[in-house]
């Protein structure tokens, strides 16, 4: 027998209460694990980096509104614009709606030119993509995930558009090449396919695009060019808003950040509530044992040892409930979450943060009852029934 044995026996003396507390902690850390993985997925998906050498033009109303294709030629004429490419959301998925894909219909050549410093594509694959309107480029990560290879036929579906040639939401593609990133930290990007192919097959929304990306000449003033582009369409039915790519990404991230903040606050509130419930239950559990603690002190157990026994019990409770909660969060992430949000994963830093929270949870819930136990007056404690 040792102190750990005493902690374990004390914890399991009222089984129903122990189980309820364990379940509460289990749920708290399951929520934490799932949320943290979700946030990681969000951050991974939106950490687009960006550069000052590219501008993004979207509708002034908001970025989900389409703009006419005719804008592209006028933007290309703005002084300082080296190249301009349009792009469209596709809302793609692979086989199941849960296998969502980031997938854009783009002007192939100007788009790749605009991103020439970010993407690495084998010259033969690049040439094959440009030559075949029914082909696409896939990011290396997705190709590895689904086992796709160059030359594979790939039917993909859209949850927004329908295809008039197949009379369904399906488009048939051939994989022309793989997109590698120039730097390990760069995001993998999206599947790219020909806007022309999209435009001629889609049942609605033709001759439109969602955003344009402009590559500006080295040393050109991005703010001036952005102002010049927006001025072109001022007071027209399709006004534009142009920003440097970095600023655009930051604005996009800020919106997601707000959603993440709301979710974090809600989960934190649930977490704190569970902490208070468990803490209160621990205080009551220790109060019930006042006489036993007085007996331990009578036998010669020091104040410090009593403090350690109660704190250890609270830490043990937190770990016994929390670790399985985190483990289930890993399973939930792999089975469900990662399909909805690629990039969502329970990383080691998240796991270690979770363990840190468990230890903090144990210390916070155990400290008050441990201090109370330590201060129990022996004579008064022994007199209790």
């Amino acid at each position: 027998m040792n102190d750990f044995y005493l902690m374990r026996k004390n914890l399991s003396r009222k089984k129903l209460r122990a189980i309820l507390m364990l379940v509460a902690i289990f749920i708290a850390f399951l929520i934490f694990g799932v949320l943290a993985s979700f946030q990681h997925g969000f951050n991974a998906g939106t950490g687009l980096g960006g550069t000052d050498s590219r501008l993004i033009t979207v509708s002034k109303i908001n970025f989900t509104q389409s703009l006419p294709v005719a804008h592209i030629a006028r933007i290309a004429g703005v002084d300082g614009v080296e190249t301009v490419a349009m792009a469209n959301w596709f809302g793609g998925y692979y086989q199941e709606p849960s296998n969502l894909l980031a997938m854009y219909a783009v002007d192939p050549e100007p788009y790749l030119k605009a991103y020439r410093d970010a993407y690495v594509i084998a010259p033969a694959e690049r040439a094959a993509f440009l030559a075949d309107r029914g082909s696409l480029l896939v990011p290396e990560g997705l190709a590895n995930k689904y086992g796709w290879k160059v030359g594979d036929s790939l039917p993909l579906l859209s949850n927004i558009f329908s295809n008039k040639t197949t009379n369904s939401h399906r488009w048939d593609f051939t994989i022309a090449g793989i997109i590698h990133t120039a730097h390990p930290d760069d995001p993998q990007g999206a599947i790219l396919f020909h806007h022309a192919y999209f435009d001629e097959t889609v049942t609605f929304g033709r001759d439109k695009f969602n955003w344009a990306v402009e590559r500006i000449a080295p040393g050109a003033d991005g703010d001036r060019i952005a102002g010049a582009i927006d001025l072109l369409f001022a007071n027209s039915p399709s006004e534009t808003a142009t920003q440097q790519e970095k600023a655009f990404n930051r604005a996009f991230l800020a919106q997601i950040g707000n959603i993440a903040l709301i979710v974090t606050l809600v989960v934190s509130a649930a977490f704190c509530t569970i902490l208070m419930i468990v803490g209160n239950t621990m205080i009551m559990a220790i109060r019930e044992r006042t006489k036993e603690i007085a007996v331990l002190k009578t036998l010669g157990f020091s104040r410090g040892r009593i403090l350690r026994l109660v704190l250890g019990e609270a830490l043990l409770l937190a770990l016994l409930g929390g670790v399985p909660g985190l483990l289930l969060a890993v399973v939930v992430d792999k089975v469900a979450l990662a399909k909805l949000l690629p990039g969502s994963t329970m990383t080691w830093p998240i796991s270690l943060t979770g363990i840190g929270f468990m230890l903090a949870f144990g210390l916070v819930t155990g400290l008050a009852p441990a201090l109370n136990a330590m201060r129990i007056n022996i004579a008064a404690g022994l007199a209790r029934f």
Binding site: V295, T298, L299, R303, A379
Partner: protein
């Protein structure tokens, strides 16, 4: 008898309750010889348990000096008193005060967690103590699975496991029937006579007090007389 094991000199104990100060003892003197078996009797509220608490180092005197084997225990810090109790005093309570989640052998082993004995040595001592109180067959039983008499014998085994010189017993037979009480008292008598333990026992029961060498009557914080047990 080889000299006083416990000596109270001018001991006073007062409690402050709100604006009122309650005096339990005022300048009390007491001497208990090593190897003695003393019963303390008296009406409720006479200060018996407070006296026992002071003797066992569970409480501190307001004034005066308490010595154990010639060394003052009044003035020791809480931590020093805890260490002193672990070595020198065994406690036996009216309601046994066993840990309900521990078996008999684990309950007896508890005080040994404060020693540096190995697990094997602890187990050996526990078996010997339980054999001494006649519970060798009940080592794996929980308190709820034992009778009151058996629980009190486990408590006695726990009280003597560290081989203390002094056994402090607060109404050890108060919750037992006559026959079981006599068994427990005979066991205490044996510990006193054969193992030389000094025993101080608070009791309301004159029949229990007869097992002692001396009976001290306490009333309103003072000894009224002292007499040898019949």
């Amino acid at each position: 008898m080889v000299g006083p094991i416990i000596q109270f000199s001018n001991v006073s104990k007062r409690f402050v309750k709100g604006k009122e100060t309650i005096t339990i003892f005022d300048h009390l003197d007491l001497s208990i010889q090593a190897g003695d078996f003393v019963a303390i009797m008296g009406p409720s509220g006479s200060g018996k348990t407070t006296l026992l608490n002071l003797m066992g180092g569970l409480d501190q005197a307001t004034e005066g000096q308490i010595t154990f084997n010639g060394a003052a225990i009044s003035g020791l810090s809480e931590g020093q008193l805890a260490a002193w109790r672990a070595v020198n005093v065994g406690f036996i309570f009216q309601f046994y005060n066993l840990m309900p989640m521990l078996t008999a052998e684990r309950n007896v082993e508890l005080p040994l967690l404060l020693t540096k004995l190995s697990g094997a040595e602890r187990r050996q001592r526990v078996q010997a103590a339980l054999a001494l109180v006649g519970l060798r067959e009940r080592t794996g039983h929980y308190p709820r699975e034992m009778s009151g008499g058996q629980q009190q014998r486990v408590a006695i085994a726990r009280g003597i496991i560290s081989d203390p010189k002094l056994l402090v017993c607060d109404e050890p037979t108060g919750d037992l029937d006559r026959a079981t009480a006599d068994e427990v008292l005979l066991m205490l008598q044996t510990l006193n006579q054969e193992m030389g333990k000094t025993i101080v026992m608070v009791t309301h029961d004159p029949a229990a007090a007869k097992y002692a060498h001396r009976i001290l009557h306490l009333d309103k914080g003072a000894f009224t007389d002292r007499e040898l047990a019949a």
